[in-house]
Symmetry: C2
Subunit: 198 residues, 2 copies
DNA sequence: CCAAAAGTGTTGGGGTTACACCCATGT
DNA sequence: ACATGGGTGTAACCCCAACACTTTTGG
């Protein structure tokens, strides 16, 4: 029989204006063949960097699952990025996850990736990868609300997040149209298991 | 470069006398190459059945993760079985998970598989795959205690389990050395998400 | 002074934990 | 009658959810 091909497929997520976006290549998930015998995480990072020419310091990469597709086996990863870079190679575009029309395989991968992301932010600190260096508690709350797709109570959110003790107040303020907000950073930008919600 | 090989590796768990066992082949995890273009779950099932000649009605199979090994890429599964069959093909043996000496790769796979199993029984009903058709609540409690590696309070365990409403009393009793115990079955032997422990 | 978003406490209910004795059977 | 494991209830506590007003700034 014909030799099976082996791919890594990547679901790159980011947030912009309280909407979840995914990076697509020609309206499909980013995908490339595996050719080197190095850890799969490294292969996934290489493929992303090579194809998109984008470099991030604190992106979060996680393997989702592996499955048989029409043209071979794909090891699927999702990737969390802190912002939408302005310049992208040809054929790449950020797409709002809601109302997305992609092929059936990629669509079910996206559904699952979103579910895993929802689970993940509820018991780890990996949201750090979706946020800039400093941010306000309201911004952080918006990130959670966007990903979970539900409203969150401001007071309860603050109590919970601060009690988990993985944020650090900077003492600086974000000025805006209204009362300035305290700016926070993450104590550590490394994946840590921490029960965020019940 | 040389074409990478593709494997499925399986971690078959079962319980016997309140101890967790794993099935090994020549002191290594069961492993075989992927040759057909069918869903990976089916490949894993086929490999298990072909190699061990064992057939189960309600085994639970779940993909763990995929990683690069020395001789190629392995897609790793764990499998939950209801008992230790008496006759096994040559070179297969059940080994107690505690105090196991296997190679480093398999050892870390086993650690992770156990952790996933611990998580899994806390929010799903998949323990059904480790139990016979009928069982007492004490037996079920022993299964949880064994996998989680901790004692559980009898009254609280019963309240919790019964409130989840996935068991059905049969009305029959298990006779033994002492007072007969009510026998239960699972309403459904299909994976269902249900928060079992906090 | 008005608009806008930041920031802050309390209370009630639900769920979890801790805990000890009686019951049904076999020997 | 005794040994063995089966079976049962309650009280304290903690955590979570619900909820509204004051504060600080810019315009």
């Amino acid at each position: 029989m014909k030799q099976l091909s082996l791919f890594v497929k990547i679901v790159p997520f980011c947030l912009q204006e309280n909407q979840l976006f995914v990076l697509l290549n020609n309206n499909e998930l980013l995908k490339d063949t595996i050719t080197q015998q190095i850890p799969l995480d490294e292969i996934a990072q290489q493929i992303f960097t090579t194809k998109t020419k984008l470099i991030y310091a604190h992106a979060y990469l996680e393997q989702l699952y592996t499955h048989m597709e029409d043209d071979g086996i794909s090891v699927v990863y999702f990737l969390l990025l802190p912002d939408q870079p302005t310049s992208l190679p040809k054929d790449f575009s950020w797409n709002q996850v809601k109302n997305l029309s992609v092929n059936k395989t990629d669509s079910s991968i996206l559904d699952y990736a979103l579910q895993r992301l929802q689970w993940k932010i509820e018991y780890t600190n990996v949201v750090y990868s979706l946020l800039p260096e400093t941010f306000t508690l309201s911004e952080l709350q918006d990130v959670y609300a966007t990903i979970l797709g539900e409203q969150l109570d401001k007071r309860n959110f603050r109590k919970k997040i601060l009690s988990l003790n993985f944020l650090k107040a900077t003492g600086k303020k974000r000025k805006g149209i209204s009362r300035p907000a305290e700016l926070f950073t993450f104590k550590k930008r490394e994946p840590t298991i921490i029960k965020v919600f019940s």
